[in-house]
Amino acid sequence: MNKILYFAFICAFFSCTDLEEEVFSRVSPSNFYNTPEDADTAIIAIYQTMNRGLFDAAMPSLVFVASPHVWTRVSYRKSYANYTVTAAETRSNPSVWRKSYEAIFRANVAIGEIEKKFYGDGYEAERLAIIAEAKWLRAFNYFNLVRLYGEVPMPTVATSDIEGARLPRTSIANIYEQIIADLKYAETNLPDRKRTDSKLGRPVVGTAKFLLGKVYLTMAGLPLNDASKMPMAHAKIKEVIDNKEQWGYDLLDSYEDAIRIENNAERIFSVQQSRAIEAQGTQMAFVWGGKWWNRGGKSGGQYHGGFTKDFYDSYEPTDERRDVTMALTYEHFRTGKTLTYMETRQLQEASGIPQNKYNDPEQLCCNGQNDIIVYRYSDALLMYAEAENEVNGPTTTAYQYLNEVRARGGASTYDASGGLSQDEFRELIYKERFWELSFEFHEVYDIRRLGKVEEAISINPEAVKAGTVYEPRYELWPIPVSEIQTNIELNGKNNPGW
């Protein structure tokens, strides 16, 4: 009561007119980013955008299900497999778009703010490394966007007003130019050795070189078809392989370990997750786990889809990668009965063979432990074999790297003197990429850059069932309708044909 009377007295006779707004529960940016520790929080915020919802729920629709070898039970996902999707699809497309740009915005904030600072001579390398990491993450997101959507708006500074929030599209070539510039900066300024402790798994020089090599390889393919980039890819990936010890990269002896162990030497980049911390667990195992399978968590998986039997059968029986990639049989989590694909009512043909790369029996609903694999070292070997074939033909070196990957997986090796043509060898690599890297976010990028979209449509069971006929527009996804509606600079135009 005293407080009220005091308040009343003060206000009645001295006028309470101080209307400055006080901020209690939030941090104000005006006095932030002043130490390397502050600066690091700006980077962590970029990682946060890749958390639950993006790679486990949304991204698989755009990247995974259009693979030649995938069934899906879920109608909105089917629409990506059979290309009946529209720009109005609300579940996957807007999430990928929004979260990628959220990451880009946060990277722009970090770059813009930290470039202005100086933390002292002793901290200069650290400061530049933080900027480099933001640039690597920005390049990573633009690389995804340009491959998924083609020409997209390309903010490189954080907007502070409505006008800056609306940007027209940038050409594909210019986006790649920006990506290369960012990665070159990252390649120079990131730490040059494997990170440890609280920074374990975050990009280093080798990560930047790997991504730059991948970018060059992609530019050499469709839609740019920039042949000059193939030798650059060849050289850049070679740098990664030759200096792998520098960054702690290597091929593990066991394929299963490479898939299951977090932050192992083979992981070049992964989105790190933890079951134990709210909103930091992935729902990958839950969404994509087989029905009634405890590896999808304590209630079983939602079983959104799986692989075709043809794909399963295409592996050599000795190939350990087959059963790490998918689970043809597993136990019912309540009854303990063995469930086998197509032999049990729960596992119908058109639902596919459940994936087995992500599983977490301990998770509750959507909070899984597994880190999401984005880039693995074996991809570097396959990319190098591919680049070698493109630059020098199917040389022994090309066979050597391909066979290294196959042998580790338990598959037979190819005879280097097999006399395959360059085209035939290219096919071998293409197939190998599915065997080695399925469900690791390469599918749609590979079929697009290699001109395989039409072929994939002729194989993908959902597309076959729907009678989908290839159209050129299928080389890109439509930009989400919300962007078209809100961004006047797009003039209401989506990608051609969408």
Partner: protein, 1064 residues
């Protein structure tokens, strides 16, 4: 009741509520008529006439100090027996001055009553003072205690429904204690509050704060106004136009509701006890659903359409599993499992009285209202103390204290989330072949534990039975108002007070419930607290000038400061070793999440003034202005000024009018114009701030911060400009009276979450952009139709229209989309804001019919664009609005208008002897409702149950038709808002029928009065709406603009109430 007291009280208030008072007086007059035959002694006769010499039929003649009296007949004659020669007769007639005459030595008393301009007037409570209704230049509607008392409600806002023109009240949820949306003259604001400012005894309430249900869906807040016991309210005045509301400046744009609570009167203590017992019953109007066998048959039918064999075939497979035939399945009627009749009990004890220096009014109330969903219940305890003290000749003090505690056991019905959907929606769609205690999905034919959308079977019965789901609210309001008389006519007023609210939301989902199963039990324990402090000082000055004091001036001016602090704490814990302790021991949960908390302050400082001038009660002028400064706006936009002006001309007071004043007793023109504001934004939005964005690296959580909003350095007030012209009319001394208003409101600088391209990294920014227009016409019309000795019939009707239109939505007028009806499955928005269209128009695809055989060419290729390549015959046929040959999001269009064409209320009071009957009819006409339930229940989804009406009429090979209400089976892919689920939501409701009997009491056994009442509420509803009740608004509450959506709404109970009112 002693007549003396009664009269004194009435006269003290001097016609404040003439009709009500008069009615009551008559009541007693009639009541006593019956008694006076026992005590005949001396008879007085006479005639009562008016100044023009015309007889006044129906005038009351009462013996002063007694309850004995009579009425004049048609010729103005009366006859009354008196026992005491020293008695005094009191002559009363509505609209005339009271006259007293001693009977000493007389047997004939003729009286001429003089018209009393004062008593024709109600007194209307306006901001910072009162005004006579006849002096008003603005538009103000009033509802009296009597109108509120007649409806047994939890909260007074529900009793206002249909009572005043221009005021539309929609119950957001029919759960006991459910919230309402109040809109006065349409909706002005997109972002925030369209609710009026509520002022209780001079205290402007802050925006409601309530603990939220956090991650468990957008479940609605409870009723924000139920902390006031409706029977403590004396009057409600609704300020509508700018002239009336501008004194509240930045908070006046949505209108102002001014509540005055009761106070004690001079005299001995009066005690009254008021008890109500009611039964809340399950309403009719639930559509029939499929029984078990039909449901199973439909599954096989669907299977057949997919080219699969029926599996309910009565055969045993190689594993020895028997598959039963459809007819072997039983049926659970899930609605029966969740609904029951409830009891409502209420008891109010009131003590009031006072001396010359001080008066008191003390009231306590306990209310318990069981809902018709099992286990839902609203409980309130409330105490109010109003004190008036005359400290000295110059200083008086007025104190109001109200404490209330509400416990609301809830159901989450209509919370609009499929994964966590409420029991009503679950009961509609639940598999009818499951037993009432079935916990999980069975592995039925295709092993579907869940639909492809991931929905689990949730047993609605167990959901209600097992889930703890409560909201607790504690409200305290203390308000002190002091008045010093400095000079004659000059008062200095100080108001100071505070309001505090503590709110708690506890939910526990046990491991056996649908929501708790995945997480092995889940508890939410959320708190919100709000402390609001107010201090105001203002001067009031009254002066009459000139010859015969023909110039009257009334000035008010002052300063106000209001400070508001809100705190929140939200916690969530999962994985409980036992379900036994629920939210009482969240610490035993094994998986706790980091709690979140916040503290936000907001202050408003204001200077205001008002001047009223009138010349000979003929010409009126009012000027009002308020300058408001608020913390929530950008640093260079803190202050806004809100002026208004109004003029009035009472033609009937002109000399030239006197000739017809016997017919037209009042004729007044009013016109007003002004600007009011709305600070519809949450705090901190003009600033750039960083939000937490932590992420895991190496299994450790690392701190991350990122800008969580785009700052807007120019954020300022919303401004609503309103013009109003009005006409007040009365005929035959007020026997028929009417008031009409036409208004035009334009809101500019609309505060909006302006959508940004997501490529900016944000989805929206709050900015001042856009404008909305509301215009409408209101009329209220009343009549004392029959005024005979024994029988009286008073009626009044109000009718209002409001047309709103969005004029602009910012620089490129991009559409603004509302929330989707459900968080995870019906994901496209159901409402839109689009330039040129009405506010919150319903939005979605247009269904032009059903796909027919004729829509395919000879090769089986579709000749029409298909939605999702669905070629099923009898599927919904989507209209290709943009005619580009394919169905895309661009084909969505406006498919309905949730705003009514007009609303009305019609009230009738019949009185016969000691009986009275109130019949109240209320209607909302011309609004559309989107019945999202039909997407699940009338679409052929075989994982959900369906409506029998759909089943019987559905499109099949043998029943081909084009009625989009009854598509064929297999519509799984079409869970999107569209026109086939939009229906006319018009309704006319017999809202209230109240029957009262005043028990005649003889002798003084201590009981002063006794009234028995029987009230039926929501007795009949006339509508073509196919859902249970057309008054729905599941997306209402929490200051959101979407409306007209039905989605598993809590059904509206019918209530039958027996009331007993005893006075001592």
């Amino acid at each position: 009741m002693k007549k003396k007291e009664f009269l004194t009280r009435q006269r003290a208030k001097n016609g404040k509520r003439p009709y009500g008072a008069f009615m009551m007086l008559l009541f007693f007059a009639l009541l006593l008529n019956a008694q006076n035959m026992y005590s005949q002694d001396k008879t007085i006769t006479g005639t009562v006439i008016d100044e023009a010499g015309m007889p006044l039929p129906g005038a009351s003649v009462i013996i002063k100090g007694t309850t004995i009296g009579t009425q004049t007949d048609f010729d103005g004659n009366y006859s009354l027996s008196v026992t005491n020669d020293s008695a005094t007769l009191v002559f009363l007639y509505i609209g005339y001055t009271v006259i007293e005459q001693s009977v000493a030595g007389k047997s004939l008393i003729n009286v001429t009553l003089k018209e009393d301009a004062e008593s024709l007037d109600e007194v209307v409570v306006v901001g910072y003072g009162t005004q006579k209704r006849s002096d008003l230049t603005g538009s103000v509607a009033s509802v009296t205690a009597k109108d509120i008392a007649v409806t047994p409600v939890v909260s007074f806002d529900l009793a206002l429904q249909g009572r005043a023109a221009g005021v539309q009240i929609t119950s957001n949820s029919a759960e006991p204690g459910g919230g309402t949306s109040i809109s006065i003259r349409g909706s002005n604001s997109v972002l925030g509050n369209n609710e009026p400012l509520i002022v209780i005894d001079g205290y402007a309430l802050p925006e409601n704060v309530e603990a939220t249900s956090g991650a468990e869906g957008h479940s609605q807040p409870t009723n924000a106004l139920s902390f006031i016991n409706p029977s403590d309210i004396e009057s409600v005045d609704i300020l509508k136009d700018a002239s009336a509301t501008a004194i509240y400046g930045s908070r006046g744009a949505n209108g102002v509701i001014v509540i005055t609570t009761k106070s004690g009167a001079e005299g001995k203590a009066k005690v009254s006890v008021f008890t109500e017992t009611a039964i809340t019953t399950i309403p009719p109007g639930f559509a029939e659903l499929l029984d078990g066998p039909t449901f199973i048959r439909l599954k096989d039918e669907n299977r057949a359409l997919r080219g699969q064999d029926p599996i309910y075939n009565g055969e045993t497979d190689e594993d020895g599993n028997y598959s039963p035939l459809p007819e072997e399945f039983g049926t659970t009627n899930w609605l029966d499992e969740i609904l029951n009749h409830g009891i409502r009990k209420s008891a109010t004890l009131t003590v009031s009285g006072g001396s010359k220096e001080s008066s008191y009014f003390l009231s306590t109330n306990f209310l318990q209202n069981e809902g018709i969903l099992k286990g839902t219940k609203y409980q309130r305890g409330n105490i109010r103390l109003n004190l008036k003290t005359k400290v000295s000749k110059r200083f008086s003090l007025n104190t109001q204290i109200n404490y209330s505690r509400v416990k609301n056991q809830r159901s989450n019905a209509g919370n609009g989330v499929v994964v966590a959907s409420g029991p009503v929606f679950n009961a509609y769609k639940a598999n009818p072949t499951y037993g009432p205690n079935q916990q999980f999905n069975e592995e039925d034919g295709d092993g579907d534990i869940s639909g492809e959308d991931g929905t689990l079977f949730q047993n609605p019965k167990l959901q209600l039975q097992n889930n703890d789901n409560g909201t607790w609210n504690e409200d305290i309001i203390i308000n002190l108002r002091g008045k010093f008389t400095l000079l004659k006519g000059l008062d200095f007023n100080v108001t100071t007070g505070f309001k505090s609210k503590n709110s708690r939301r506890e939910q526990y989902f046990p491991s056996i419930s649908g929501q708790g199963e995945r997480t092995n039990g889940k508890a939410l324990y959320n708190m919100a607290g709000n402390v609001n402090m107010l201090v105001e000082t203002f001067l009031k000055y009254n002066k009459s000038l000139g010859s015969r004091k023909s110039h009257k001036i009334n000035l008010t001016g002052g300063y106000s400061f209001q400070d508001n602090t809100t705190r929140n704490l939200n916690t969530r814990v999962e994985n409980f070793p036992t379900d036994a302790l629920g939210t009482d021991a969240i610490g035993i949960g094994l998986e706790g999440y980091i709690p979140t908390s916040s503290k936000i302050t907001k202050s408003i400082a204001s200077f205001y003034f008002r001047s009223n001038y009138n010349y000979k009660s003929k010409y009126y002028a009012t000027f009002t202005g308020r300058a408001d400064g608020s913390t929530v706006f950008a640093s260079n936009q803190k202050w806004g000024f809100f002026p208004s002006g109004a003029v009035g001309w009472t033609v009937s007071n002109e000399e030239f009018f006197q000739g017809i004043s016997r017919v037209v007793s009042n004729l007044k023109f009013r016109a007003s114009y002004g600007i009011t504001g709305s600070q519809a934004i949450p705090p901190l939005r003009s600033l750039s701030i960083l939000g937490p964005a932590s992420a895991v690296i190496n299994d450790q959580l690392q701190a991350g911060f990122a800008p969580s909003q785009l700052a807007n350095a120019n954020l300022e007030w919303e401004k609503t400009t309103q013009s109003d012209i009005g006409l007040d009319l009365a005929f035959f001394k007020g026997r028929i009276y009417s008031s009409m208003d036409y208004y035009l409101k334009t809101t500019n600088d609309l505060l909006m979450n302006f959508p940004l391209p997501n490529s900016s990294g944000f989805t929206s920014i709050i900015s001042n952009t856009g404008s909305i227009e509301n215009k409408g016409f209101e009329i209220s019309l009343g009549a004392h139709i029959i005024q005979s000795r024994k029988f009286r019939w008073n009626t009044n009707i109000n009718y209002s229209t409001n047309k709103n239109k969005i004029l602009s939505l910012g620089p490129n007028d991009a559409d603004i989309f509302g929330r989707p009806p459900s968080g995870n499955i019906v994901k496209l928005p159901s409402n839109i804001l689009r330039v040129g269209e009405p506010f919150a128009a319903l939005y979605g695809f247009e269904i032009s019919g059903l796909i027919q055989e004729s829509d395919f060419d000879a090769d089986g290729n579709a000749t029409i664009p298909l939605y999702g390549n669905d070629k099923t015959l009898g599927s919904w046929k989507f209209k290709d609005v943009d005619e580009d040959g394919i169905i895309t999001a661009a084909d969505r269009t406006i498919i309905g208008d949730p705003n009514p064409d007009f609303t009305f209320g019609w009230n009738n009071d019949f009185t016969y002897d000691n009986f009275s009957l109130n019949i109240f009819i209320q209607g909302v006409i011309g609004n559309d409702v989107m019945n999202v339930d039909r997407l699940f229940l009338a679409s052929g989804r075989d994982i959900d149950n369906s409506l029998l009406s759909w089943y019987n009429n559905r499109y099949t090979a043998t029943n081909q038709h084009n009625d989009a209400r009854y598509p064929s089976v297999n519509q799984q892919g079409s869970l999107t808002p569209h026109s086939a689920i939009v229906e006319d939501g018009s309704y006319v409701r017999l809202k209230n029928v109240a029957f009262n009997y005043n028990v005649p009491l003889k002798g003084s056994n201590g009981i002063r009065s006794m009234r028995v009442s029987l009230t039926a509420t929501n007795l009949l509803t006339f509508t073509n709406y196919s859902g249970n009740d057309p008054e729905v608004n599941v997306l209402g509450g929490r200051n959101r603009w979407e409306r007209g959506i039905d989605y598993g709404s809590y059904p509206r109970a019918q209530t039958f109430t027996l009331g007993l009112n005893l006075g001592f």
